[in-house]
Symmetry: C2
Subunit: 154 residues, 2 copies
Amino acid sequence: MVPSTTEYESLLRDAELRVTRPRLAVLGAVYENPHADTNSIIEAVRQDLPEVSHQAVYDVLRAFTSAGLIRHIQPPGSVARYESRVGDNHHHIVCRSCGAIADVDCAVGHAPCLTASEDHGYVIDEAEVVYRGLCPDCAAKPNPDQSPRKESRV
Amino acid sequence: MVPSTTEYESLLRDAELRVTRPRLAVLGAVYENPHADTNSIIEAVRQDLPEVSHQAVYDVLRAFTSAGLIRHIQPPGSVARYESRVGDNHHHIVCRSCGAIADVDCAVGHAPCLTASEDHGYVIDEAEVVYRGLCPDCAAKPNPDQSPRKESRV
DNA sequence: TTCTTTACTTGACTGGTTCAAGAAAAGCGC
DNA sequence: GCGCTTTTCTTGAACCAGTCAAGTAAAGAA
C-alpha cells in the first residue's frame, strides 16, 4: 500500500518533478497520513527533516496537487487536507462530532449524481459528494461534546 | 418570492429570535442576494443601516443559521456563503472559471446518493453534492482568464 | 565541475473570522 | 408607559491558515 522511498522517487520523476529530500518526505507523509491537514503533514515531515520550513511544505503540496500526484480536499468547516488516492472518483464521509474522514466509493454506477435535474445551462463535468454523519466511535458514545476535534482520527 | 418586512418580522418571531433593525436587514440581504458571502451581506445591510458593525452581521448570520432560518454553505476555495433556501435538500453547482453558484435540485429521487456502497460503520444522515463545471457565460467565452472572481454573479 | 534553473528558507503580511468587554436596545412584568 | 433583565450590538484587538517576496541552496544538464 505505502510505497518505498525508491518508489516515491519514481513517482516524482514520472511526474517530471525534481527529487529532493523535502519532497520525498512530504509525499511519504501524505501516503502515510490519509486526509491529513497541512499542519499534520508539516509535523510528520519534521520527524525526518526537522528544519523544513512550512512554506516549503505549502509549495510542495501545491506542486504535487497540480501535477496530479495527490489530491487536495477541503471539507466544510475544516482546513485543507490532502490524500494520495487520486484518479478514482471517490468521495468522503465526515463525522459531525469528531471530524474524522473516511473514503467512500461511488454509490451508484461509475459517476453517480452527475446528471442534475436542472443544470441552468451549466456544463457540468464533475460531482463531488460529501456525506455527513457519525463515525463508529462517536455513534457509540451517545452524547459527548459536539465540538469537532482538530485532528482527524482516520 | 422575497418576503416583505412584516414577513421577515414574523419569520424572526416564529424562530423565537428578537426583532432588531440589523436582523431584519441581514435577513433581507440573504433573501435578496442568494449565495452571497459575508462581505456582500455586510455591504447590502449597510445600504440601509450604514453603522452596522461587521461583528453584528457575523453574530446574526450565526444565530439565523443555528435557528434554521438560513443555510450556511462553504464551497471549496470560497469563503462562507449564505442562502435563504432551507429544508429542501438541494445542491449547488460552482463555476470553475468565475465562481458563480446556482441551485440544483436532487438528481435522482428524493435523497440521491445517500446510500454509499461501503459506509465504514458510519451512520450517514446527509449527503451534499457539489457539481463543478462552467456557467453559461464562461462556457460561451472559450478561454478567458481562469482565475475565479471574488464576487458571485448569480 | 560549472552553470542554469528550480526549490527552499526566512520573515513579513493578508484577510476572513473570532474573542472580549462594555454600551445599547428588546421585550417582559407591573 | 416605566423600570428591569437579558440579549444584542459596538469597538477594538487578536488569531491563524495561507500567501508574498527576496535571497540562498540544491538539483540536474552539459
